[in-house]
Amino acid sequence: MARRRRHPPGDEERLAAMLGFSPADEYLGLDLSPGETGGLLATAETLAAWTPEPPAPEQQKRLLAAAMAAAGALAAPRLTRPRGDLWTVADGLWAVLDAVRPHVHVFRAPFWLATLVAVAAGLPLLAGSRSLGGWLDLDFAGFLVLMAPVVAVGGTAYAFRSCGSGMAELEMTAPLTPWQLIAGRLAWVLAYDSLLLGLCSVAAAATGPGLALGYLVAAWLGPMLALALADLLLTSILQPWAAAGACLGLWAGAVACADRLPWMAPLAAAGTAGAFGSAWVFAPVCAALLAALALSGQRLAARLAGLAPQAGG
C-alpha cells in the first residue's frame, strides 16, 4: 500500500519520534517524498524549538496572590480543629473563635471605651458609698445588675448600626448566613460585657460581705441577655438606636418600679441567696425572646440587609 521512500536514512524515524507515532504508522508511509519528510522534520524542529518569552517573576507573584485568594475564599482559613473524636471544650472554643473572628472589625474604639467607662462608673460604690450621684440608692452589686442591660443594649445597637443601610446589604453577600452574622456580633458584645461585669463581680464578691459570686453573676446575666435579645427583636421593626431607646426605656421603667416588681429583687439584693430565685424569671423570658427571634428571622435578615419589606427598584 505504501510507496517506499528514498529519503536519508533516519529522517523518517526522527519524524515518527517527534510526532509520537510508531515508525510503522500509516501516515508516514503515505505520499512522503524525501523532500517532504525533510521539510516536515524541519517544521517539527522549528516548532519544538519555538519558545516565546517566558513569564516575568512579577507575573508569577500576581498569580500566586490571586490563587491564594481563591483558595482562601473557598477553603477559607478555618481555624484547624484540634484532633480527637470527642467534642472537647477546646473544639468548642476553636469553633466559637472561628465564627466570631470575622466580626472584630465592626467594633471600633468607641465601643470598647464606652462600655469600660459605663461599667467603671460604679467603682466608687465599691468604696462603700450607697448612692450613685444622689439618684439611686444602690450597692455595687445592684449597680452591676442595673448597668448590665444598658451596656448590652448599647453594644447590640452599635454592633448592628449598619442595619438598614447599604453597608449591611454588602455584608449580607458574604459567605455567611444571617444567623452566623447575628450570632457572631452578639457574641462579641455579650462576651466583652460579661468579661467586664464578671471582673467587677469578682471584686464585689471579694469586698462585699454576704455576696456570692455565682448569685451575683446570675443576677446580672438574666437581665443582660433578656434586654439584648429584646433589642435585637425590636431591630427587626425599628432602627437600631430607636430599638435600643425603647429597650432602655423599658428597663428604666422596671428599675423605677423595682419595689413593686418581685422579679426585680436582684437589683436591691443582688448576689444574695434571697434574690437568686427571682433571677430565674429571666430564663423563660430569654427562651421566649429566642423563639420570637427565630420566628422573625426572615424579617430580621431583610432588615439587616437594609431592606424594607416593600423594597423594590
Binding site: 496572590a65 490571586a66 491564594m68 485568594a69 481563591a70 482562601g72 475564599a73 473557598l74 477559607a76 482559613p77 478555618r78 473572628r101 470575622p102 466580626h103 472584630v104 472589625h105 465592626v106 471600633r108 468607641p110 448600626r161 449598619s162 443601610s165 447599604g166 453597608m167 446589604e169 454588602l170 455584608e171 449580607m172 453577600t173 458574604a174 459567605p175 455567611l176 448566613t177 431583610a302 440587609a305 437594609g306 431592606l307 419589606p309 416593600q310 423594597a311 423594590g312 427598584g313
Partner: protein, 223 residues
C-alpha cells in the same frame, strides 16, 4: 454560564382602602418571568427607574428570596445563598453606605474577613486593588471623610477583593470621574468572569460587552 429560569418577585403593598378597591392586588409584581443566560463577559442591565434592576441583582446575590424561578451555574442548580456561590461572588449595592469611622484599609480588612480570606493575603490584595483604583493615598482615611466617588471605589475594591468569578454591580460607574471609570472598567473584565451591571446608559469605557439586557414590565428584552 449563569442561567436564570423564570425568576419572579413581588412586594407587598399597603391595602388600598378606597371604595371599589376591594379586589385590588395586594402585591406589586416587580419581576414577572426573568429568563436569560449570563455568559462570561459583561452584561449591561438597563431599564427605567423602578423597572426592577436592583431587585434582580438582589435576588441573584441572594439578598432577597425570589417568589419563583431557579438559577443554574455551569449547569448546576443552586441557591444564591449557598456558601460556595457567595465565595466566588462580588457585589456592589446601589447605595454607597459604609461605616464612616472606618478607614478604607479597615473596611477592606472587614470585608475580607467576612469573605474568609487569610489576613496577610487580604492586606496585600487590598493594597493592590486599592492602588489600581487610585485609592492608595486615602487607605488610612476614614470613609466618612473621603468623597462619595472614593467611597464608591472602596466598595468596588471590596467587590473585587476575592477575585470573584461572578460580579453583580449596581450602577458601578455612577458618580465616578473619567479616570476612575476607566480604572474600574479595566479591572472588571477577566477571562471567564461573569459581570452583570446595571446602568442607565452604556458606559463610555471599553468593556468586553457580551450582551445588553433591557428590563421592562418585569421581563427581559435583549438588546
Amino acid at each position: 454560564m449563569l442561567e436564570l429560569e423564570g425568576i419572579s418577585k413581588s412586594f407587598p403593598i399597603r391595602a388600598d382602602r378606597t371604595v371599589g378597591a376591594a379586589h385590588a392586588p395586594r402585591r406589586r409584581p416587580v419581576l414577572l418571568d426573568v429568563r436569560g443566560n449570563l455568559p462570561p463577559g459583561v452584561t449591561i442591565l438597563t431599564g427605567a427607574s423602578g423597572a426592577g434592576k436592583t431587585t434582580l441583582l438582589r435576588v441573584l446575590a441572594g439578598i432577597i428570596r425570589p417568589d419563583g424561578g431557579s438559577l443554574r451555574y455551569e449547569g448546576t442548580e443552586f441557591q444564591p445563598r449557598a456558601r460556595w456561590f457567595r465565595s466566588c461572588l462580588g457585589y456592589l449595592p446601589q447605595r454607597v453606605a459604609v461605616y464612616p469611622e472606618m478607614s478604607v484599609r479597615v473596611f477592606l480588612a472587614h470585608m475580607a474577613a467576612l469573605k474568609a480570606m487569610p489576613v496577610g493575603l487580604a492586606g496585600r490584595l487590598a493594597q493592590d486593588v486599592a492602588g489600581r483604583l487610585g485609592l492608595a493615598a486615602c487607605l488610612d482615611r476614614p470613609l466618612g471623610r473621603i468623597s462619595h466617588g472614593q467611597a464608591k471605589l472602596a466598595c468596588l475594591a471590596q467587590a473585587l477583593l476575592n477575585d470573584p468569578d461572578v460580579l453583580f454591580l449596581d450602577e458601578p460607574f455612577e458618580g465616578l470621574d473619567h479616570s476612575a471609570g476607566r480604572s474600574v472598567a479595566a479591572l472588571l473584565a477577566r477571562p471567564g468572569r461573569i459581570v452583570l451591571l446595571t446602568a442607565h446608559a452604556q458606559p463610555r469605557w471599553p468593556l468586553p460587552l457580551a450582551q445588553l439586557w433591557l428590563l421592562r414590565g418585569g421581563v427581559l428584552e435583549r438588546g
